[in-house]
């Protein structure tokens, strides 16, 4: 008989306890309370012979209970010879190996160790076993599929895996364990369907950094029987320092400067770090290195000044002094601000508070994106045209202006016609290129916007019920239009009595907006309402092509940089980058061509990859990940499945479960001991005293 936990057999030494207790003469523990002992003299106690063990049978029972309990806890089992192959079920094992290819795996010593572990796992499998190899770096890629494995001859499978692994290098993506394990579980399910009764396991090979994303694991539905083994690889050098992009510092008049964060892991050796700004194209340094002291486990924000002349040039900030280079560079580009022009047609004076011009000039002041330049229609046009244009027509147009405006409308400009006079309806119709527009005047002189299409881009800004209240914006001189039956004009808002208040019509690539009334404060409250400036800014953003896209993003998170599938990427050398219009998977500065326009963007190493402190093991338990009891060692093959020759002691013991019978036996012995002790005590306690019996 063997024991799975033989150290519990040491508990048999506890047998000494009852033996000593039975050897010691039992001192009476009975207590009798009596009113007074004044008339009593102490009796001489009756002594037993010390050498004699009291109640040997009871002692034997007690010793037996301890021995049986100790044997039960030691988990005994009977070693068995291997069962005949015909009797044993032929079981196989299936492995889904997930190899972490995130940026942090670029640290020295990690990648080779990880590849070796994966290759060893594949080499240790039997002919009937299944194997799937996945690589995870943000997304998940299948390196060796089940079909490939099955198709390959068993003798060539290890070589297949080795070859596939030899061609791989760690990427620049983030570590997303939740995505990786979700994909692995799906693969695991497929393996299970094809081979019922197999022993299946997911092996995750990674450096397990604290920056890994695991939040999605909390909601993952683990199929019954899932086992996840964590295989950790350790870097050659402890610790890491990294630099992360934070943004451009607010312009304080001293020129542009950028902000970066430098992080040090807790186990990082204290080294002197420096930040060096360089030209991204030529790698030539700009200025002198900026020394930086960061305590291990801490982070520090540094401001790097940039020469004003190079503000729009692609740059890079290098962190020097750290052995691990994968996160030591931040790539920087700065998109030039978008420009727009507001052309005012009306001939009003700049300081005339009774007309919209005065308020429009103040509304657009200080905008960062787009930067709007005001220009009266009679002022000369600038030599370089602004990016986009919004014209506001607050007075009658001459034929020349009308033609020019219509041309610009067709080219993509936005024009707003204010119907401050019934005659303006004709101007609006002419700009729209339609006829049959008839001016109408609402009967009520105190009109509200009654029906507003909040789905339309003009008012979608106020779609939230918190902002959709227009009842406090009144129009005292409303003007409306009766439209012909066929028109391209869309009524965006109506006055409360039902007549059109705000209209929009496409004209070429531009948009014509007709507003039913004047914006001057004497005609309505619109221009002075809190909604006007946000509305106007949204209109200018729309005219400029929509919300500004960021210029800097992390690798794997480039969706906001471009419209999907419409951009082509080129690197600094002008060569095409990224496959099939997809974003490149490497940090750097790239040029995007989209919609006829080109701009610089920068891709960064994911900031989470710099957090290389180990991920606490408790995290897996807290997220409910069914971890395998013992981690699979990479060098040794997996333990053979149960039932095969060489069945493990734990499996045999788990099958035999002799400890249950021993515990049942101990319980029975305990009951017998209690009964025996009770009978013994009862007999001794109730036996009549010889003297008193004689006296009675």
């Amino acid at each position: 008989m063997n024991f799975l936990s033989p150290w519990f057999l040491a508990g048999t030494f506890l047998i000494a306890g009852p033996i000593i207790a039975h050897l010691i003469r039992r001192a009476t523990r009975d207590r009798v309370n009596f009113s007074t002992t004044r008339f009593l003299s102490a009796s001489a106690p009756r002594l037993n012979r010390r050498s004699r063990i009291q109640h040997p049978l009871l002692l034997a029972l007690r010793c037996l209970i301890i021995a049986v309990l100790a044997a039960g806890f030691a988990r005994p089992f009977l070693p068995q010879a291997a069962k005949p192959a015909a009797a044993a079920p032929v079981l196989t094992q299936s492995l889904v190996v997930v190899l972490d290819e995130s940026a942090s795996m670029q640290r020295a010593g990690l990648w080779d160790a990880a590849r070796k572990k994966a290759a060893d796992l594949a080499a240790g499998l039997q002919d009937g076993d299944q194997f799937v190899l996945l690589a995870a770096a943000g997304g998940v890629a299948e390196l060796v599929t089940r079909e490939q494995w099955t198709r390959t001859a068993p003798s060539a499978r290890a070589a297949l895996v080795r070859d596939v692994l030899a061609a791989r290098q760690p990427g620049w993506g983030p570590t997303h364990f939740d995505t990786a394990l979700e994909t692995a579980v799906a693969q695991w399910d497929q393996l299970g369907e094809s081979a019922a009764g197999t022993r299946r396991k997911i092996v995750l090979i990674s450096d397990f950094i604290a920056g890994a994303r695991v939040a999605g694991l909390a909601g993952l539905n683990w199929p019954k029987g899932t086992e996840v083994a964590l295989e950790s690889v350790a870097p050659a050098h402890p610790g890491n320092a990294g630099v992360q992009w934070l943004g451009w510092a607010p312009d304080t008049g001293t020129g542009p400067s950028l902000r970066v964060r430098v992080v040090q892991s807790a186990d990082s050796p204290a080294t002197s770090l420096r930040l060096q700004l360089r030209d991204a194209k030529t790698n030539s340094p700009i200025g002198i290195p900026q020394p930086l002291a960061v305590t291990p486990g801490e982070s520090r924000v540094a401001v790097v000044p940039v020469p004003a002349a190079l503000a729009l040039t692609p740059l890079r900030v290098d962190l020097e002094g750290d052995a691990e280079a994968f996160d030591n560079t931040v790539w920087v580009v700065r998109a030039p601000p978008r420009e727009a022009a507001l052309v005012y047609y009306g001939g009003h004076a700049a300081n005339d508070v009774h007309h919209p011009r005065f308020y429009l000039q103040r509304a657009i002041a200080g905008w960062k994106d787009p930067v709007v330049h005001f220009r009266a229609s009679n002022a000369p046009a600038p030599a370089t045209a602004a990016g986009s244009e919004v014209a506001i027509v607050a007075g009658p147009l001459g034929a020349t202006d009308l033609a020019a405006l219509r041309t610009r409308l067709a080219a993509g400009a936005f024009t707003i016609v204010l119907l401050n006079d019934p005659a303006m309806v004709g101007t609006a119709a002419a700009l729209a290129g339609e006829s049959g527009w008839t001016p109408t005047t609402p009967a009520r002189k105190d009109a509200l916007l009654g029906q507003i299409d909040f789905q339309h881009p003009l008012f979608s800004l106020f779609a939230d019920p918190r902002f959709s209240d227009f009842t406090h914006v009144r129009f005292w001189h409303p003007q409306s239009v009766a439209l012909p039956a066929t028109t391209a004009v869309q009524v965006v808002a109506r006055f409360d009595e039902g007549s059109p208040a705000v209209l929009e019509a496409p004209v070429g690539r531009g948009r014509l907006i007709v507003w039913g009334g004047d914006w001057e404060p004497d005609s309505g409250q619109w221009i002075l309402s809190t909604k006007f400036v946000p509305w106007l800014q949204a209109l200018f953003e729309r005219a400029a092509g929509g919300e500004a896209r960021p210029a800097i993003a992390e690798v794997g998170d480039t969706a906001r940089l471009t419209a999907a599938g419409t951009a082509s990427w080129r690197d600094l050398a002008g060569a095409a980058a990224g496959a099939n219009g997809a974003a490149p998977a490497q940090p750097g500065v790239y040029q995007i061509e989209e919609g006829g326009a080109t701009r610089w963007v920068a891709l960064e190493t994911p900031a989470s990859e710099s957090r290389v402190d180990p991920l606490p093991l408790e995290t897996w338990d807290q997220l409910g990940v069914p971890l395998h009891a013992t981690a699979v060692t990479g060098a040794a093959p997996l333990p053979p499945p149960a039932g095969a020759a060489g069945e493990g002691a734990a499996e045999i013991e788990g099958r035999q479960k002799l400890w249950r019978w021993l515990l049942i036996g101990a319980a029975a012995l305990l009951a017998a001991e209690s009964l025996f002790a009770y009978v013994l005590g009862h007999r001794l306690g109730l036996a009549p005293e010889p003297d008193s019996a004689a006296a009675t």
């Binding site: 009113s35 002992t37 003299s41 001489a44 010889p690 006296a695």
Partner: protein, 312 residues
Amino acid sequence: MAAPAPQPPPQRGIDPQALFAIRDLELRARIVVEGLWSGLHRSPFAGFSVEFTEYRQYSPGDDLRYLDWRLLARTDRHYIKKFEEETNLRCLLLVDTSRSMLFGSHGWTKADYARTFAATFAYFLGLQHDVVGLGLFDDSLHDFVPPRWKPGHFRRLLGLLDRPPAGRDTQLGRALDQVALLNRRRSLILVLSDFLSPVAEWEAALGRLVAARHDVRAVQILDPAEQTLEFGSAAVWEDMESGRQLYIDPTQARAAYRAKFDAHAAEVRTALEKRGVTHQVITTDQPLDFALLELLQRHGARRSAAGRRIQR
């Protein structure tokens, strides 16, 4: 052969086990007193708590006991002595609440017995409109209610008697001295105790109390096991008052115990008789009504003897 003379049926009192199963002390007292009335032909206290006031002429149907025979002899007229109830009988019940009274070998303790005895006697006297007071003592007189007659007084006495004993040792002498200070008017003082403390401790104080013209009666309440030591087994015996522990085998210790206990009992009896204090020993297995009846009958006998002494 002549048939044996018929024997009177044995007296059967109230079974103490049944009595002490009743938790309410007042109910216990009522039950005992009801049994007591049926056992009494006439009140032993008649003439004690009532006083002659005037004569009236006899009319048929009057109780001949109250006919004044001397007057009849002198004047040849029938006169009936008329009595008036008075409340000049002051009775003070002194109850021992020390830890030794908590001993009991029958399921009830000596303290239970003493409390019931005191409550019954107080109820009995209350029915006669006599005033009753109560003193509880252990190592001193810790509770004292002077004798008085007012509504609710009996309830107050019951409340005191129902209070759980604090549990200290006995110093009867000190308690008797305190009673002498607190109760200066002449009273009937009934001491309910086991009198197991040394006689020397209380003998002098008792003498001072008697010298103050109090009518002192001692009721010694003992458990039968205390008299015979037919109790317990070989074990460590602990003194309930001093906490002293001794290994006692009752079969070995019984003879010596009885000798010492009897000597103490004799000493108690001598000390009490020497000072004219009536001594009554009651064991807790005796029916309470019998014990009370015995007290009352002794009281009557004592009054008769005292009257004779006065007449002489």
